[in-house]
């Protein structure tokens, strides 16, 4: 099957829950288990939180979420037009954090819970994080 949906949010912490629920609802078109849906929710929460805290530094901005299903694969793009990441390698290190009381685990959670993720970023232009996941049950059938 194919399907797509698009969501634009103001960069506000009140919208993180909405982003999670929207992506979880969209994801349930595929045969994900409840546990897998929970993992997707964590990944979305981390990515949207990063946009609010790091990309826009808790100031005004817009976050876009592009969701797609292509056959058995869910793809989620989370796009911001904020300050961008100068050194992507550095932010991929576990426990890398520029803020106190932030654990630097956001991207590590995304890496653990999604099958694949990649970051495209340009300084002062913005960042796009692309995350992909297939239901585990379907992977087993294919293998």
């Amino acid at each position: 099957m194919t399907n797509k949906a698009f969501l634009t949010l103001q960069s506000k912490s009140e919208n993180i829950g909405l982003a999670r629920i929207a992506v979880a609802t969209f994801s349930s078109n595929l045969d994900f288990t409840l546990s897998e849906i929970e993992e997707i929710k964590v990944a979305v929460s981390e990515a949207v939180t990063n946009c609010i805290i790091h990309a826009y530094e808790e100031k005004k901005g817009e976050i876009e979420i592009a969701m797609k299903i292509n056959e058995d694969e869910l793809s989620i793009e989370i796009i911001d037009y904020g300050k961008g990441i100068a050194d992507i390698e550095a932010v991929l290190q576990p426990s890398f954090s520029t803020k106190e009381e932030h654990m630097g685990l956001g991207l590590a959670f995304i890496d653990s819970f999604m099958d694949d993720f990649k970051i495209d970023s340009k300084v002062n232009k913005g960042t796009t994080i692309i995350m992909k996941k297939c239901p585990e049950a379907l992977k087993k059938v294919k293998n």
């Binding site: 912490s13 009140e14 993180i16 829950g17 999670r20 546990s35 929970e38 929710k41 964590v42 929460s45 981390e46 939180t49 609010i52 805290i53 009381e101 932030h102 654990m103 685990l105 956001g106 590590a108 959670f109 653990s112």
Partner: protein
Amino acid sequence: MKINIENKDSHQSVILRLEGELDMNNASKFKSKIIKAFKKTNNKFLILNLKKVNFIDSTGLGVILGRYKVLSKKGGGILLVAMKNQVRKIFSLAGMLNIMEEFSSEKKALNEINKKEEIYHD
């Protein structure tokens, strides 16, 4: 997110019962409630009842770890109670179950503090 707080001075503890989802949207409220609860007492253990918590992410964990650092300096710590599987997975992946013990009930957590502190009641 709803927060219910009960002081258990007899066990040098604050019991905090959370309900809902813990993310960036309510992390500051959660943190200030804990700080306020401990300001009133000299307690050093936080019993965190997560039975009704459906969701937590790294921002929520960050607040809990921050409080753990403060309490462990006082010789106390954080005891986790009744986590759902999806919440436990997040704590585990972050390595936090290596430093915080988990209990199935508040009573068991209080008993553990009794053992730790050798507080005996008549």
